[in-house]
Structure formats: C-alpha cells, structure tokens
C-alpha cells in the first residue's frame, strides 16, 4: 500500500497527462475527427473557388443533351403508361468541392466541403463528371467523407446497359475496377457501358459507372471484365451530392405468410 502511494506521489502528474492525452484522443475519435476536419476546411477555404466551373458546352454536347432530354421524356411517358413511380433521386444535387484526399493509405476516400449544415447525410451518393464517384460515409457540420467506388472494399451491383447482363463491380484502388458476372456466358464486349443495377443496395439504379476495357471469359468461377471508370477519381475537383437512403433491410426476414390456419 505504501509502495503504491509512493509511486502515485511520484507519478501522479505523468499518469494524469497520459489519461488526458488518451481521453482527448478518444473524444476527437467520438466526433469522427470533426474538429480536425472543420479546421482543415477553414484553412482550405482560400484555395478553392466558390462556384463550380462552368460546364463545357460544345455543340456536340448540346446535341447529345437534347437527345437525352427527348429520350428521358419518352421514357417518362412509357413509365406512366405502366404506372411506374418516378425516380427523382438525380434531380436534387448539392455541388461540393473536393478539399482533401484519403488521410489513410488503405482507404480510397475524399473530403468534401459540404456537410450536415447543407443537409448532406450518411448514405448519400456522389457523382462527378462522367458518373458515379462513391457514397458519403461520415459527415461533420461542414465537411463530409466519401468512400470512392475505386476502394477495394466497395462492391456495387452493376449491369451492362446494352444487354442487361448483371454482375457486381469491385474497386481496384485505381482508375480501373473488376466486374464479375453472375452468368456463365454474359453478353458483354469491350466498350459496353456499365451502370448500377437494381441489385445495388447502396446506390439507385441506372447511374453510369464506366466502360468495359477487356473481358476475361476464362476466369473462375464466373467471367470477369476490367472496367475503366468514367470518372477521373484521382483528380476530381468538383462533385455533386445526391440525397439517397440505402436499402439496407433487404436481408431482413420475410414477412410472415398469412394462411387460413395461421392468421
């Protein structure tokens, strides 16, 4: 007991400092590093413009845009004919600037300058010029952290927009990803456009991801394709955040079947 008290008298200050340091670190950890992210955003402010750059509008792009509008309208009419509910996820967007890259080498992440104050929440998905970028995994009042689709741990249900062959895509930590098909003989060829499928739980369907660069039909257990992502993930500057609520309850137990003897 005496030895213990003597140790305490000698080392009380040290022990206090250790507790203080660990406690502060845990406090910052609890808030998702909000203090650090907010300071970072404040310091990064002078280095970024306030408005997204004007989109390039060449005659060719204008032509394509008009055709897309026309097709969307037709699509809408057809959907109305079959009572399909309108999917308006892509209508509301929040433009955000990329202020930081991944703070850790094992995750492919981005830090954006919009957060909870701009109604950004966890689960929202992010697109950039060309297609899907990733989804929001953490928010602080004025910043948000995005997990990129190029992260090896992100897995997205995808389909070929031409032939509707489905599979899933896994990031490859760079500008290319691997797509694995569900079928043995998928109808796919290099150049085909890949979009998210309705199997995707974390993203809405129909968002463009990239194009097939090459196909390995010998791969086991199912054919694989190398997909070139259409968004330049390594040098993004501006992105759009779209509100979305992930469908996380698809694994829930099915509803109880009501029968005559089991009402």
């Amino acid at each position: 007991m005496f030895a213990l008290r003597r140790w305490w008298e000698k080392n009380a200050v040290k022990a206090g400092l250790v507790f203080l340091a660990v406690g502060t670190a845990l406090g910052i950890y609890q808030t998702n590093g909000a203090f650090v992210s907010e300071t970072f955003r404040f310091l990064a402010r002078p280095f970024q413009g306030n408005t997204p750059p004007e989109k390039v509008e060449s005659p060719y792009i204008l032509d394509l845009q008009q055709r897309v509008v026309e097709l969307e309208n037709q699509n809408q009419k057809l959907r109305e004919l079959i009572d399909y509910s309108k999917n308006s996820d892509l209508d509301i967007t929040t433009p955000a600037a990329v202020i930081g890259r991944s703070p850790d080498n094992w995750w492919q992440q981005l830090t954006l300058n919009k957060g909870a104050a701009d109604d950004v929440k966890e689960g929202d998905f992010v697109t950039g010029p060309g297609g899907l970028v990733g989804r929001v995994v953490a928010v602080t009042p004025n910043t948000s952290r995005v997990l990129l689709i190029s992260d090896p741990s992100s897995q997205i249900g995808a389909k070929i927009s031409r032939s509707r062959s489905t599979g899933y895509i896994r990031g490859g930590a760079g500008s290319q990803a691997t797509m694995q098909f569900f079928e043995k003989l998928p109808d796919a060829k290099p150049g085909d456009v890949i979009v998210t499928s309705s199997f995707s739980r974390l993203f809405p369907q129909g968002v463009p991801i990239g194009r097939i660069a090459s196909i390995d039909s010998e791969a086991s257990p199912a054919p694989e394709a190398v997909v070139q992502l259409s968004v330049p993930v390594s040098n993004l500057e501006w992105v759009d955040i779209h509100p979305y609520t992930p469908k996380l309850d698809v694994d829930a137990a099915p509803a109880k079947i009501v029968t005559d003897d089991n009402p």
Partner: protein, 191 residues
C-alpha cells in the same frame, strides 16, 4: 523577485513546449489529406503521424513512445475508420524506436532516422494487413474479397508509404528535434 521571475519563465517555457508538441500533432493531422506534388506515389502519401511518433520516441522511454503511438493511432482512426485500426502499428513504432535508441543501435542523425522510418512504415502497414487477414479468416463479411488482394495491395502501400515517409522524415523530425533539444538544454541548465 529573481526566483519569481525564473519560475515564471520556466512555466512559460513549459507552456510553449506543450503548445509546440500539441500543435505539431495537429499540423500532422491537417496535412494527412493533402497531396502536394512530391507527396504522392500511386495515390499513397507519407505517413506523417509515424514520423512524429519516431521523433517523439527518440529521447523517451519505450512506454512513453507506446502511449504516444496509441494516442496518435486513435486520432488517425478518427479521420479514416475504426477498422483496421492504426493504434497497433503506431504503438509498436513508438516502443521500438525508444528501445532501439536506448540500446544505441539507432543514432540521431538524419540518415539513420530515414532508415528507421522506412522499416517502421513497412511494419505499420503490415500490422494493418494482418488485421485485414484476420478479419478475412474469422468473420462473415470481410472488407476484401481474398487474401491475395490484401497482400498485393499491402506490397504497393507499404513500399510507397515507406519511401515517401523516409524521404519526408527530416522535414518533420529536424525541427521537432531542434525544439526538444533546446527545451531540454534550458531545463538542464536551470537545475
């Protein structure tokens, strides 16, 4: 009067020491998401917190180095994700640096610091790869699809991070060492 002034300047000095120590950690956290030209090989940046832990543990006891590693590991986790944790790798770093310096295997010049940072960066990334492997082996929903992918990625991350960290190590180690030397010399003169 004289003793009062000297005590006051001593306290001042101590406050400044804390400001510099905490400020430098904060600075490291802030430059983690930045990739300036020369801070990036295949998308991987230098591990600033590792350099800080090495600089801190140089003149301290192994347990002090390990505690610093734990604290900075928690801070790093707060900026990325809870799993895989950085605490283990950085705690090992702090402990090993202090131990190597105690045994006089590790000298204080910039070349040996760069070398030790290189080795410890590889160890830190290995600690993370081992966690991912353990998660793959023993849990239902692993982050990575197979062990091959983890270790292939580990190779890339470990090598790039080790090269960059050891090249950038002097930039952080030198000013910190200078400050702590100065602080300590003043402290010793007073006694």
């Amino acid at each position: 009067m004289a003793s009062y002034r000297s005590r006051r300047s001593g306290t001042n000095k101590q406050v400044w020491n804390w400001v510099v120590t905490i400020g430098s950690v904060f600075f490291c956290l802030l430059i983690l998401p930045i990739r300036l030209p020369g801070m990036d090989i295949v998308g991987v940046g230098p591990n600033w917190l590792l350099i800080w832990v090495v600089a801190w543990s140089m003149y301290r006891l192994p347990w002090e180095g390990a505690i610093a590693g734990v604290v900075l590991g928690i801070l790093h986790d707060s900026l990325s994700a809870a799993f895989p944790t950085h605490v283990i790798g950085l705690a090992i770093t702090g402990f090993l640096t202090a131990r190597l310096h105690q045994r006089r295997i590790l000298q204080e010049d910039l070349i040996s610091v760069a070398l030790v940072v290189f080795g410890l960066a590889v160890i830190t990334e290995t600690a993370i790869a081992l966690q991912l492997t353990a998660q793959y082996l023993w849990t239902e929903e692993p982050l990575y699809p197979d062990i091959g992918t983890i270790w292939q990625y580990h190779q890339r991350v470990a090598l790039s991070s080790a090269i960059l960290s050891s090249l950038w190590a002097p930039a952080l180690y030198y000013p910190l060492k200078k400050w702590w030397d100065k602080y300590r010399v003043k402290d010793r003169l007073k006694d």
